[in-house]
């Protein structure tokens, strides 16, 4: 299985490569990718350097062009495809049909991966993208159970990549407009979820309040752990109770599922977190490299080492980790 690591800048890309990533995925510094945060991602002039560093070390580099262009911005997306083809990226991660058509027409030899933002969760959807645009791999949304992933891997027309670790989207990626409902900005519209400019913190008599564009996301009594205010991790009132209506602030960790994912024929596992720092990228990549190597040599004798789990727990968002939708009772 290929280990696909995130990088939000050149030092992170180097950290990923140096710590054993088989592939690194990055984005350009604009809204053509779904982590369009200030100060993050690659200037066009830095892309060649990124590709060179990875290729010299024998690693691949993918460019995420995985948001949905609107008419006014269309040429930014086609330009990103042109630049990627020129810079020698190993694959483009794409979500929009118009962008796929452009890439497939102009650069038929350029490998296309279907982004998780395209929300393909079943074989017929995958067949459509495979037949129309020749996509070679698809990243699955974090909504399928392990059993469903296994079944899909058995009859998928393309290779599958799944999320293994990182913050947890509990909604189908590409099909969530909670952020724009609160702020007007969303992954599909603007390449970002719940942007920081809409976040406000205020100390009140009932505790520290977090707001997203004025909407109260949570109240934290003194001394409790706070989380970034997004609707899916907020605490609200429903059916007469105040609780995490959608999900607790947990993150995904599937280390214990690794043998099953391998057995299912999953071709690549993906680490989330282009927005995280270089230390995160280095540490997560190192642990998952060690785990994949152990799986390779030990096969059925593979067990999750305690120090791996502790190492990952230290850099997880929120205090707890979960298997998410892979584990049916979570649903």
């Amino acid at each position: 299985m290929e280990l696909v690591a995130p990088a939000g800048n050149l030092p992170s890309l180097k950290a990923a490569v140096d710590n054993g990533a088989d592939a690194v995925y990055i984005g350009m510094r604009n809204d053509t990718n779904a982590r369009h945060f200030p100060g993050l991602n690659f200037e066009e002039s830095n892309l060649a350097k990124a590709v060179f560093y990875a290729h010299v070390a024998g690693a691949k580099v993918f460019l995420a062009i995985n948001t949905y262009p609107q008419p006014q911005g269309w040429t930014r997306w086609t330009h990103a495809v042109d630049v990627a083809a020129d810079a020698g990226f190993d694959a483009l991660i794409v979500a929009d049909m118009g962008v796929m058509e452009y890439a497939a027409t102009h650069y038929p030899h350029l490998r296309l991966h279907l982004s998780v933002q395209a929300s393909a969760t079943n074989r017929h959807a995958l067949e459509l993208y495979q037949r129309q645009f020749g996509i070679r791999r698809a990243v699955l949304p974090r909504v399928l159970s392990l059993e469903q992933v296994t079944r899909l891997a058995n009859n998928s027309p393309v290779d599958l990549e799944v999320f293994a670790f990182g913050s947890l989207c509990i909604m189908v990626e590409g099909r969530c407009q909670l952020s724009s409902y609160a702020t007007g900005k969303s992954p599909n519209l603007s390449g970002a979820c719940s942007p920081a400019e809409f976040v406000a913190w205020q100390s009140t008599a009932s505790g520290l309040e977090s707001r997203l564009n004025g909407l109260l996301m949570d109240r934290f009594p003194a001394g409790t752990v706070t989380g970034y205010p997004v609707i899916c991790k907020g605490r609200f009132r429903a059916a007469e109770s105040v609780y995490h209506v959608l999900e607790e602030p947990t993150s995904l960790n599937t280390l214990e599922l690794l043998p099953l994912l391998a057995k299912a024929g999953i071709k690549a596992i993906k680490i989330e977190g282009r927005q995280r720092g270089t230390a995160y990228v280095a540490q997560v990549t190192r642990v998952w490299r060690a785990a994949l190597d152990a799986l390779h040599t030990q096969a059925d004798a593979f067990t999750v080492r305690q120090d791996w789990m502790e190492s990952l727990a230290r850099i997880s968002e929120g205090a707890q980790t979960t298997l998410g939708a892979y584990h049916r009772p979570w649903q």
Binding site: Y68, P69, Q70, P71, Q72, A95, D96, M97, G98, V99, E101, Y102, A118, S119, N122, R123, H124, A125, L128, Y129, R131, R142, V143, L144, S145, Q148, R151, I170, M171, V172, G174, R175, C176, Q177, L178, S180, Y181, A182, G184, S186, N188, L189, N213, L215, L216, I231, C232, R235, F236, R237, A238, A239, S241, V245, L246, A325, R328, P329, W330, Q331
Partner: protein, 305 residues
């Protein structure tokens, strides 16, 4: 300029079998031009079997209204794909694709189709691509601003396919905002999805969610999260008509449906702006249309942010 039509969206909530039959018996007599039928949210809901949805659709189509079969949005299991395939194979009725799986099946059969708001079309190229695969009508994502829609439709004309498609706007009701593997209605009742006891039946208009300072935020509808506020874009209908929008979609709710549709119909005929505030709980919202946050309610007629 062709007259604006009214469509009735699929029932997004879990209504019992008899409620559905009663509802559609009334709908046949209402001034709607097009009716979408079918389960789009959760395959565990089986008030009507797939064959019964198709029979009901055929029955209603005898009234002369256009009937479209709507398909499931989040498709994870083979059994769900089979249901979608059966709807696509119905033989005569138009199908609304809410996932690319349905687009694929319909395209393979060389059948025309419509797309619902969960199909991500944000530009004229992807719209054109789907049009060549068989799309004859689309309902844009609810977050798409008016200005972007105007650009897309202008480019559709320039690219020469504008006349071959119809645009429908999700114009009234709680907006579908997100889909998950998790069932939030079951979670609210401390039940797992696999043992949900069909809790959705208790909430004919979904389960309301409030912030801790009592603002209505969301509406839980099984695995679907909807807006807390009711979207009302009907007052924008003249502007929409000028843009080339052909249908206004009204999403079914358990109360006041007949009044909402009759008021809208009368306003369209008389060329006036309907006042639907009496049928909306809370402030309503229309922010997306004006390029703002979806929950906001802006003054009608404000067409540029």
């Amino acid at each position: 300029m062709p007259a604006m039509k009214i469509s009735l969206g699929p029932v997004l909530y879990y209504w019992p079998r008899d409620t559905l039959f009663d509802f559609y018996a009334q709908v046949a007599g209402w001034p709607v031009d097009c009716i979408y039928l079918g389960e789009t949210v959760c395959s565990k809901r089986r008030a009507l079997r797939t064959s019964e949805w198709i029979d009901l659709a055929r029955e209603i189509s005898k009234s002369g209204k256009q009937v479209v079969l709507s398909t499931l949005t989040l498709i994870e299991a083979e059994s769900e794909l089979s249901t979608v395939a059966r709807l696509c194979d119905n033989g005569d009725l138009l199908v609304e694709a809410n996932d690319m799986a349905a687009v694929h099946l319909l395209n393979e059969k060389h059948l025309p189709f419509t797309t619902g708001p969960a199909i991500n079309i944000y530009n004229s190229r992807s719209l054109n691509y789907l049009q060549r695969l068989g799309l004859i009508r689309w309902t844009p994502p609810v977050e798409l601003p008016r200005t972007t829609l105007a650009e897309i439709l202008k480019e559709a004309d320039e690219l020469g396919f504008g006349k071959r498609i119809e645009t429908e706007i999700f114009a009234f009701g709680h907006m579908p905002l997100a889909y998950s593997a998790r069932c939030f209605t079951a979670r609210a009742n401390n039940l797992p999805k696999d043992g949900c006891e069909f809790e959705c039946l208790k909430y004919p208009d979904g389960l309301p969610v409030y912030t801790q300072d009592n603002q209505r935020l969301l509406t839980l509808n099984g695995i679907q999260s909807q807006s807390g506020q009711v979207l009302n874009l009907i007052p924008e209908w003249k502007d929409m008509q000028d843009l080339g929008v052909r249908l206004l979609r009204i999403s079914p709710q358990s109360q006041h449906m007949q009044e909402i549709i009759e008021h809208t119909h009368a306003a369209l005929r008389q060329g006036v702006t309907p006042d639907l505030s009496a049928f909306i709980e809370g402030d309503g919202c229309n922010g997306y249309w004006f390029g703002q946050a979806g929950h906001m309610q802006l003054e009608s007629g404000r067409t540029t942010p």
